[in-house]
Symmetry: C2
Subunit: 316 residues, 2 copies
């Protein structure tokens, strides 16, 4: 479980770690069950990223070339026709295969058959929701329509909350024979912590320390990311300032002083404060859920408490 904390802080392998954590809320960790289940959940994530990189035309991932892009380079080396499309096609297949192998792994974990099926069904349904959220994301990304506050929060709930946090915690707990009540609480806890995580991400992208986060502050502004901060700000502006914002937001060539203007406005108009309030309300809700958990063996509850604190206080 200490490793989970390191993972969580680095943002790596968090899902696999959450599976063990979900299990150990009810029972001492059992690696022969949680290891393959955690690996399957990580494999789902890898598969999604392989497909996402194709959609985003992203050449790099985790410090390496993204998978489809590696295939593209290989196709070039081998003088195949249409290497970019060949790379995309192989990437689609590879992502699919990773999904299948993950379902195969789950079909063999050493728990009883009904629990195994329930875990399979839960993964399948949550992945379908993620796919749906991804479609909405693609659609927004290609258009000019502004989503509503509720739509942004909904996306955070499905893409990050339910999938990154609720799903691994739930399937871990299911493997330990959790009842409906605990599963419902874990689902809600995941949604809440995931939303906090995303909002914090937006906050750091806007106001973080450039050295700590490793990307230029304000890049979300230049990329036109539809954050809650942006939607709240947009509502409070005069028509004149609204026009200025429209010229800056999503403009990759925006000048530094224009980006600073946006950031300053967000602070001065209380937007930052407003989003922080949303986060602290969610944090309170998560704390209440945690209190209701069974007194966990193996310190699982303490780790969840730390994870929650980390999510809302992290600086990178």
């Amino acid at each position: 479980l200490n490793r989970l904390e390191d993972f969580a802080v680095q943002g790596k392998m968090i899902r696999g770690g959450l599976v063990s954590l979900g299990y150990s809320i009810l029972r001492p960790d059992s690696p022969e069950i949680t290891a393959p289940l955690g690996a399957a959940v990580e494999l789902f994530q890898s598969a999604l990223l392989v497909h996402d990189d194709i959609m985003d035309r992203d050449a790099s991932r985790r410090g390496n070339l993204s998978l489809y892009y590696q295939y593209k380079e290989l196709a070039e080396t081998e003088n195949l026709s249409d290497p970019y499309h060949t790379g995309e096609s192989l990437g689609i297949c590879a992502g699919d295969i990773a999904f299948f192998l993950a379902f195969d792994m789950i079909s063999r974990i050493p728990v009883n058959g009904d629990i195994r099926s329930a875990i399979t069904g839960t993964c399948a349904r949550e992945l379908a929701y993620v796919g749906n959220a991804q479609m909405i994301d693609v659609w927004w990304g290609a258009g000019t329509k502004r989503p509503t506050d509720q739509e942004v929060l909904h996306l955070y709930e499905y893409k990050t909350g339910r999938y990154t946090f609720s799903l691994p915690l739930m399937v871990g707990a299911m493997a330990a024979e959790a009842g409906e009540k605990l599963l419902g609480e874990l689902k809600r806890f995941g949604i809440v912590i995931g939303t906090i995580f995303q909002l914090k991400d937006d906050e750091i992208g806007l106001f973080g320390n450039e050295k700590e986060i490793g990307k230029p502050v304000g890049s979300d502004i230049r990329e036109g990311k539809k954050t809650l901060h942006y939607l709240y700000l947009e509502k409070k502006l005069s028509p004149e300032n609204k026009e200025r914002l429209a010229a800056i937001y999503g403009n990759r060539e925006a000048r530094d002083e224009d980006v600073s203007w946006v950031r300053t406005l967000m602070t001065e108009l209380g937007i930052r404060e407003e989003v922080n309030r949303v986060m602290s309300d969610l944090t309170k809700e998560a704390e209440e859920i945690l209190e209701g958990f069974p007194p966990a063996e193996d310190g699982a509850k303490a780790v969840l408490t730390r994870l929650l604190a980390e999510s809302s206080k992290r600086k990178k």
Copy 2:
């Protein structure tokens, strides 16, 4: 089961029908089990086709626009940026979602949990093999390297045999609590009938009646399809004729008389005969496997026998 025969002849919904057939080898058909399982298997197929159409840049499917292409048109109508890529991205997501929903359906079929898991695992593994075969196919399609006879047969085995025939028969039989022996026989039967089916497809594409098959005879020659006929022919040619073949095969502008020359050579050099021998050996093997099946209720064995006869005798 009569409907299956119609389906099989039309080449539609064959997989869903084979699930019922696999089940009814052991027990009278039980629609509350075989219907959702058959639907899941069909949904896997739809998902694969959605992804395949993106890879093949195929704008039409089953007489309609292919799914990603529909999204592309929608993106155009809505004035989204980069409509073709947006269509591809939405198609990738939609295919993924269909896979997930199919796994979800399987996770709920009313059989015992261990059988449900075994069915999930079998589907997942066979789909992974199909994905692998598809990657090989993409790689060949983009390159100039000629596959070997064995590689072509291997592709027929995995993409058609195991997946289209073995898998549905096996999962149907698994739902009826088939033992390892019958499952092994069904797997082999599927591989054999699937390979016959593909070889017959190649034969019809070369020598069929244009009116019956609904596409120009010889289009496989112009498209450069790497069939067993082609590989066998290539081996028997003089260097001079080999060169002429290379200029015709895969040349979309090839003249009718050149295409006829290829077809005539295949008959004269006994290639057609040679492939027919492969088919009749496989047919004999399939008949022997069928004989060993338990005397089926509900006429399942008779339907499989007819399906086999149909596969090797059909003209379209």
